[in-house]
């Protein structure tokens, strides 16, 4: 189920918040064009894992390889330059930049004006609501609109690996469904590799091919999504069945 050379390989990383060891030796792999989800309770270390990959909470021990090359220890902007783009928890829209400027920030490292323009038109077609609000400051958008803007902003960077942190957080069920349909479509149509962190395990396991269960900074379970859905422990702890 794992290709010989995974796109992302995390090898036994330990990351800290101050003196608290948030990740106690995580190993995981994500193959090209895969959707992998990381499920777990609050404080299990899901967001820290993503922040470690991006270099904002660099691991003190262990290694992270992207396309076979080590990226741990690189500055965050260099990691973005490799093609790893995160949609962080809480969306983090630049509140006083317009929708267009926010999208422009997603393409900050790109130098191909024509390609950027084409992607912008493409994404505004995919998210018509953003086209309507293109001149509005990002901070005036609703939660669902901001989530779409955050995803569109990330796609403006043409990521090789898209990291999504809690995209369903604080959104109405109908909006959540729309967001997850979009996530599935991004993987299907653009073959973008996705690592999805989500508390809503039900949803996450529907779009993901594989999943990892994270508990107290350790991976306790790794399997195909279907196997996880069927797993008795996962059903009890995370699916509420």
């Amino acid at each position: 189920m794992i290709t010989p050379e995974p796109l992302l390989k995390i090898d036994d990383i330990h990351s800290f918040y101050g003196n608290i060891e948030a990740l106690k030796g995580i190993r995981l792999e994500v193959a090209e064009a895969e959707v992998v989800t990381l499920i777990g309770a609050n404080g299990a270390g899901k967001s820290t894992t993503l922040m470690s990959i991006c270099g904002l909470t660099p691991p003190r021990r262990g290694a992270i390889y992207f396309q076979g090359e080590p990226i741990h220890g690189l500055a965050p902007h260099r990691i973005v330059a490799r093609g790893i783009v995160q949609v962080p928890e809480g969306r983090r829209i630049f509140p006083e930049l317009t929708v267009l400027e926010n999208l422009g920030m997603g393409a900050f490292l790109r130098r191909d004006p024509q390609g950027i323009k084409a992607d912008l038109d493409d994404l505004l077609g995919l998210f018509p609501i953003l086209a309507q609000r293109r001149r509005q400051p990002g901070g005036t958008l609703s939660g669902g609109e901001q989530q779409m803007l955050a995803i569109a902003r990330a796609l403006m960077g043409r990521p090789r690996l898209l990291l999504l942190d809690e995209p369903s957080l604080g959104l109405a069920p109908l909006v959540v469904r729309r967001i997850f349909e979009t996530i599935a479509a991004i993987n299907r149509e653009r073959r973008t590799t996705i690592l999805l962190v989500e508390q809503n395990a039900n949803l996450a396991l529907k779009v993901a091919h594989r999943g990892y269960v994270l508990e107290n900074g350790r991976i306790t379970l790794a399997a195909d999504a279907a196997a996880l859905v069927a797993d008795e422990r996962v059903r009890q702890a995370y699916l509420g069945i």
């Binding site: 270099g55 904002l56 902007h77 973005v80 962080p88 630049f94 930049l97 920030m105 900050f108």
Partner: protein
Amino acid sequence: MNWDYLLSLFMGGLTRGSIYALIALGYTMVYGIISLINFAHGEIYMIGAFTALIVIGVLTLAGWNGMAILLIAAAAAVVYAAAYGWTMERIAYRPLRRAPRLSALISAIGMSLFLQNYVRMAQTANFLPFPNLIPDFACLKPVAHIVRASEIVIYAVTALVMLLLTLLVKFTRMGKAMRATAQDREMAMLSGVDVDQVISLTFIIGSAIAAIGGVLIASHVGQINFYIGFLAGIKAFVAAVLGGIGSMPGAVLGGLVLGWTESFFTGYVSSDYEDVFAFLFLVGILIFRPSGLLGRKQTEKV
């Protein structure tokens, strides 16, 4: 009512206000990006004036004269002050990036004292005459009692600097990176912005603008010493807070309001309590508008 007198006070206020605004921009830009009050910023302005004076001295000895000297001296001051600003951030603030805010603030005060005393030792503690190299334009003769040529130059240069800065921040790639960093530094990093580079650039731009202010006002007032950065720095800080710290239009507005307030107060009430009045005014504004005239919500923060 003496209208000429009123008008001359208005123009004088505009002159002061322009200089406050130029310095306040540096305070507010740095605050917007790294939430630090760079108390050594006034010293950069002073160093700009000193650099210009030295270059003017050398070029005068070499037989140059007039506006050409001033332009070269100003250019040298801008480059030199920018280098100081960049270095200051590197050695006094960057190592403290993850430290509590108070540490960086203390480092800033230390930097300020160090630069003042460094200039005092390397140069002199006395006031030095600064030649006014701006020619008296003939067309200004009829209004000479209201406004001087050097003041007209100050208005023009200040307006030009603000226009260029606005264009830079609004439309260039680096300007967008600066705004993004000011609004959410982590997210800017996640968008691929090299935040260290943005911070360095902010110090360079702020310092260059302060140096322009230093050269202009030195040329207008006619003398400088190592201490001019202190009071000008504090006043400009007041202007930045008055306008709403972090807001660039606020810094300009705050500078002008403070300049006019001081000018009218000294002109109509008393020149003895000029500085006291500036701070009383600040206290008054902050009681009614704690976030400054252009508070955070309505403005662009850089």
